[in-house]
Subunit: 422 residues, 2 copies
């Protein structure tokens, strides 16, 4: 068994050898706060402050309507270019706008009305609202709703999933590539290939993966994906979501929600709708420019660091944390609720009989630094792994703090009440 | 016939007696630019700069995820409160979020699937993308698409519209309360009553009316409305749209796009969807906080001025402009393309054989002030009437400038090419 001191030394060594160590300087931070909730809301890049100020004061304030031609159409395209660079796909395959829920609806509903499919398959690891959306689409379009409920909420029963796909050719499949609770990550390439063989279309929700995992959407044969940009991509609260559709499939998509900006010539104001042939067909209303304007800056940081290096550091951080966990937290009543290194995304879920009150103790310490991570019912404490701005030393300090909270029963200082967002 | 000098004097007098004259100081402006395009994108309120900076630097930058509980849920509610004050309805009847197109889709599609209706009626004055959306909903739900094409694009043939409603009980009707081209404004109260009598549901698009006309949604018996906030409400480029549903009708709405935030208890993360009973059911994804954060400040200005006074000044400005038009512009080849004072919204459309090149001359003068207004095919020059920040003198200067452009054939300096946004 290694002790605290061993891990402290190790953290400093790992930070010293970390080639991304300087990237934390690109982000705003407070000296009394250690943040492990980048899987809910990423940190604010310093350069975003100037960028949004330019958009508000100059582009809106001074150039007014002229900024559509001068800046804002370019902003939309630039954002897609940055995102496609990270996803290693073509910019013409990426739409940025609206919310993940609306985007998932648009993609799956469009597939559903094509009459090529008879079933939608999803599972109990998927994000709940993705399931709500699919269920409604099924009932409306008379598609069978095949819901796989696994024995636990940590891992997918991969053989069951594969068999279900094989037994249901011509299905739409909706999965979250990294599960929001346990951080389980699917063998996506194998599943993409299996779906192709069985005439199935797999629509991935990449919300908990984008900006964290080194995904090559082309090489790994993705057809459809959606996801958000306010977690590991640091776009800010409610920054616009994205849709990826592989080049070969864009043309055949027939959208059920039409709109001004999805028209092939929006400023002709024709009475007749002529759907754009490009990925722009997904755009219905006027883009939310302020919320979009943060993305080129934050995505630039990710691309400057490179998603490859971010992914490598992610693994090192998880490895380091789980060593500490085995040596220092297991005996203190903590349970590791994430899969092993080969199947994990970019957060680690742990639990304890007192998960919720431990979460409160971290956020409201009597003295010393405040730690923010989040709680998901019924027991999960989620620790975000955000290589761009988190250090190994911070992971060490978190474990040190968890030890103190349970060793001194500090959670007894807090009651069990909950706020709206947990 | 009155001359230029007469109207110059009159403008100064009108400005002197204008009780809203000081409100222009709440907005950013440039001394070399006169802006008549507030019906496309409203001006930036000065206080919005500090407000968005607070949201970005402090709420996102420092308080991070904690801001959902501390600030952002309140922001959503506050925005609805401000908007409901202006619309003279209850805050529980107003949802703010997403785009007008998505909101129109959500409302009309939800009505369409209820199986209570057999037809959707709309007309040629409606905004084109509203028509696209309705057409798709009709074809999908096997509803008849009744499209009224009027003889001209200036005014509604009101008897034809009324007869169509009477002959088609159990219809959904979609109209833009103020038409984007001519500024025609429907007799909304009479139509709301007629629809009620005929078991029809009228869904108004208030995009070109909200913040300009003194609408009392309760007294005037509105049931459903949608609209945007970036025109007369000065929310900034792509600020979130709204939905109004009268209290009595909210419960029966069954949404076809479900979502995380439309769940009655979003942070329980239940696998089972339980639709919120309140107006919040319209929320699917995470709200676009940055784009939303401008609204409380800008709506406060509107409410401080009061929509009643804004509406009174609107009429005075239109009256003053049309007097100048009759005396000075008619003989110079300009055509008045808007209806009379009783049927007009908050912009005036005029045209000329050289509309497009006149528009370019206004924006790019050789010397002197730049004027921005907009052009809509095939001939319309739209002059926004924005009582909060426009003066009578500015209207005078615009007419003065139009006279110079045509008297000296200044439009010949420009070619006929067009940018993306016109």
């Amino acid at each position: 068994m290694e002790n605290l001191n061993f891990f402290k030394k190790k953290s400093l060594e790992l930070d010293k050898n970390d080639s991304l160590n300087n990237f934390r300087n690109y982000f705003c931070s407070e000296s009394d706060l250690i943040y492990f909730d980048g899987n809910s809301l990423g940190r604010l890049p310093k350069s975003t402050i100037d960028q949004t100020n330019e958009v508000i004061s100059n582009q809106w304030g001074r150039e007014l309507i002229q900024s559509w031609n001068k800046h804002w159409f370019k902003l939309i395209n630039d954002t897609a270019i940055h995102l496609s660079k990270m996803f290693q796909c073509d910019p013409s395959e990426v739409f940025v706008g609206e919310s993940t829920s609306n985007n998932l609806y648009k993609v799956i509903d469009s597939l559903a009305v094509s009459k090529k499919f008879n079933t939608i398959i999803t599972d109990s690891l998927n994000f709940p609202s993705d399931i709500y959306i699919i269920e409604e689409i099924c009932s409306r379009n008379n598609l069978r709703f095949e819901f796989l409920k696994y024995k636990n909420d940590i891992e997918c029963e991969i053989e069951l999933l594969k068999n279900t796909i094989q037994n249901n050719p011509n299905s739409i499949i909706s999965l979250s590539l990294v599960s929001y609770k346990s951080s389980y990550c699917y063998p996506y390439r194998a599943l993409n290939e299996l779906c192709e063989k069985n005439n199935c279309e797999l629509v991935w929700d990449l919300s908990h993966a984008a900006g964290a995992l080194n995904l090559n959407l082309k090489k790994d044969k993705f057809s459809y994906a959606v996801g958000c940009t306010y977690k590991f991509l640091n776009g800010g609260p409610g920054s616009p979501a994205f849709i990826f559709v592989s080049k070969e499939k864009i043309k055949s998509i027939n959208l059920t929600i039409r709109g001004w900006f999805g028209h092939s010539k929006p400023f002709n104001f024709d009475l007749k709708y002529e759907q754009s042939d490009s990925i722009e067909k997904f755009r219905s209303g006027t883009p939310h420019i302020l919320s979009l304007s943060t993305l080129p800056t934050s995505l630039s940081i990710t691309n400057k660091a490179s998603i490859k290096k971010i992914d490598i550091k992610r693994i090192l951080m998880i490895k380091y944390f789980s060593e500490m966990f085995d040596n220092l937290l297991v005996d203190r009543g903590f349970v590791y609720e994430s899969p092993n290194l080969k199947e994990i995304g970019s957060h680690i879920s742990i639990s304890h009989n007192e998960s919720w009150r431990i979460c409160k103790s971290l956020i409201k310490p009597k003295t010393g630094k405040k730690f923010i991570l989040d709680y998901r019912p019924d027991r999960f404490l989620r620790i975000a792994i955000t290589p761009l701005y988190s250090s190994f030393e911070e992971l060490f300090l978190l474990v040190d703090r968890l030890i103190k909270i349970v060793d001194f029963n500090e959670f007894n200082l807090h009651n069990k009440s909950k706020d709206v967002v947990t």
